[in-house]
């Protein structure tokens, strides 16, 4: 865990592209929101592997957004039910339900469909917030944060860990 946090901090402190963090956060969000179907978690994990995203952020965000699902699931259930039971959309869902593999995503589940829609709505928001935040951090806070004791301790984690071994 500490290693993951350290990696995230190192990434933040570097000049790497902030969109990698944004992609990680978005994939984390979907992994958490669509977790009722195990297939979805595996699928998103594979995408995270494939895409150039920050893996630490992906894991941390999956955890954080998973906590959020306690509040999001009931809303997702309502939205999902509404979407899935609209007459004009039924032919679409019926067609999708005939496509092999796609049905494994459990898109016909109200919570999964609702959470997916909520997730899609949040994509631009998370994208903008993440990129802006990273940029603001690098510009205004990075030097100050580097001086924090916690940062120095984290920087020394490797040494401590090696010493323990």
């Amino acid at each position: 865990m500490i290693k993951t946090v350290k990696k995230i901090l190192n990434f933040l402190n570097s000049q790497a592209d902030p969109s990698q963090i944004a992609i990680g956060a978005i994939l984390g969000l979907f992994a958490a929101f669509l977790s009722p179907a195990f297939f979805n978690v595996i699928f998103i994990f594979l995408i995270a592997l494939l895409l150039n995203c920050n893996f630490g952020v992906f894991f941390v965000c999956t955890g954080l957004f998973k906590i959020l699902t306690m509040g999001v699931d009931p809303i997702g259930d309502i939205i999902g039910k509404w979407i899935l039971t609209q007459d004009f959309l039924l032919p679409l869902w019926k067609t999708l339900s005939q496509i092999p593999i796609l049905t494994l995503t459990n898109f016909n589940n109200t919570v999964i469909m609702g959470n997916f829609i909520i997730g899609v709505i949040f994509i631009p928001l998370i994208w903008i917030i993440t990129i802006k935040s990273v940029e603001y951090y690098r510009k205004n806070l990075r030097d100050k944060v580097k001086k924090f004791k916690i940062m120095q301790i984290l920087t020394g984690v490797d040494l401590i860990e090696r010493g323990e071994k």
Partner: protein, 623 residues
Amino acid sequence: MKIIRPAGVIFFSVVLILIIVFNLFFLDIFIKNTLIKIGEEIFKAKVEIKSVDIKLLKSRMEIKELKIADKDNEFKNIFEAEKIVFDYEFVPLLTKKVIIDNIELAGFATGTKREKSGRLPEKRIKEIEKKEKKQNKENKIFNALVDKVGLIAEKEIKKLPLTKTIDKAISIKDKKIEDLIKKEELESYKVIISSKTKISETKNNIENKINSLNIQKRTDEIKKKVDKIKEVKIVGAADIPMATAKLKELDEIKNEVNLVKKDVDSIKSESEEFIKFTGNIPKEINLAKEKDIQMIMAKMDLDILNAKDIETALIGPIWKSRIDRILHIINTVNKYIPAGKNTKKKRYYEVVRKKGTDIHFIADNPSFWIKNIKISKSDKADGLGISGQITDLCFEQNIINKPCVIELVGKKDNKFFNAFLKIDRIDNIKDIYLIKVYGLTTDEIGLKNVDYGNIKFINGFVNAEVKANMDDNKIKIDGDINISGIRFDANDKQDILFTVLSSIENMKVVFNAIAIDSKIEFNVNSDILSRIEQALKKVYGKKIQEAHNEIEKQIGNLTKSENEILNKLSQQSLIDIKNKINELTKNTNSLDTYIENIKNEITKKINDTQKGTTDKVLKGIFK
């Protein structure tokens, strides 16, 4: 920035291969666990599978040693199968549709023994029930019936724990009878006091009446008058008219005597009433005493069992075990097979999941269809081997346009099992459920575990037939259960219920339930009520008599002195009144005789005088 991570591609490929490999090696375990989970949700008991072998290329799955525990009898399996072979269609699986052409179920048996308990942990049961409650919301009639049956059963089962011995139920020693008896409140005491008062009053009334009628004085006066008439002198014929007048006077006096006699007679009749009243007093007191005894026995709060309560308590779990089983089957069918007309209208149907609801869109192929299940029985000595066939077990019958038919038969020695289920939900619901069992033991149908408190079934052979018909608006369940060779056991053999039930060797329970829309009628009858009543009388009779005698003795002691006073008063009053009446009667009768004598005497004198005069006249003529 490169969108694709070059190292990720390799990693992705590795992970993908690992997933495929994992699936190849662990798919069996995954499927096994899924099947166990679904099975436990359906049967609410432990489901065990030794192994699952999936042959993807052959589209075949083999399940070995499937054991489904009985939720009502934790050390028995409701079903057990040695081997199940599925021939499924692979392509529909990719669209999450299960189409199985054929299932061969070998070594199928029911009622086999389990070494370990088949009960699920409480947490898991609650979890399943919570989910079920959510799913059940849709079928209002069925839920109303289940709720009603549950309520009735709850009411009946509450009456079960009757663990008292006859000595505890009627513990005369422990009850202080004297504390329960208050002399002033006793009906018998009140009767004694009121009788005493009435005797005194009536006696006084009679005496006053005697006094007011002045009978003695009147008789004395009459006597004087008579004596005066008696003095009349008849010397010659000239005295005869006077004497004749006196005779007339005597007749008038006799009328006076008759008046006195009439008054005496009226007093006599009053006294006879009084005698009758005093003669009835002991009877009245005894009646009042009986009332007192009943009242005190009621106050003693003797724990006397009601025969109807015992009957309902005894048969409650019996009919409930049968009705539960059929309701469980209907509930399972309801959960997975909706009525065709509902899905036709909606173009989709809903299945509630732990998280959210799955919306199933009605497509050209059903989502679940087992075309044929062939069942062959187990040859194991244990349990009852079952053979039969299930055809067209499908979640969307309106797509395949066929009902599901289940025919199962099991026979071993004297035991027989037959189930015929026709689940017809192509359009409207037209289900038939018929389950017959003959010669099964009470243990095998789960009655051994029934909580009768101190009492339990140790043996009994059950013949039962339960039939249920269900349509869109109505569920009708008829049941007929015969249990013969019944034997009960109890930790405490002195238990009243045990004593009563020991006399019952067989029983017949008939029940029917009809749920039409929101109206539900439920009737249960048995043939054991009169037998329980007789047994109860026998058990309680002796003890009740003991209590009765004890109370009677106590009441007798309390009212002894008053009773003695009353008896003395009654006897003395009777003697007094009788004496007075006798004296009056004697006096009037003697007066009557006296007058008659005087009358005769005067008449004689008149006759003699007349004769003397005639003789003298004749003598004068013939001189």
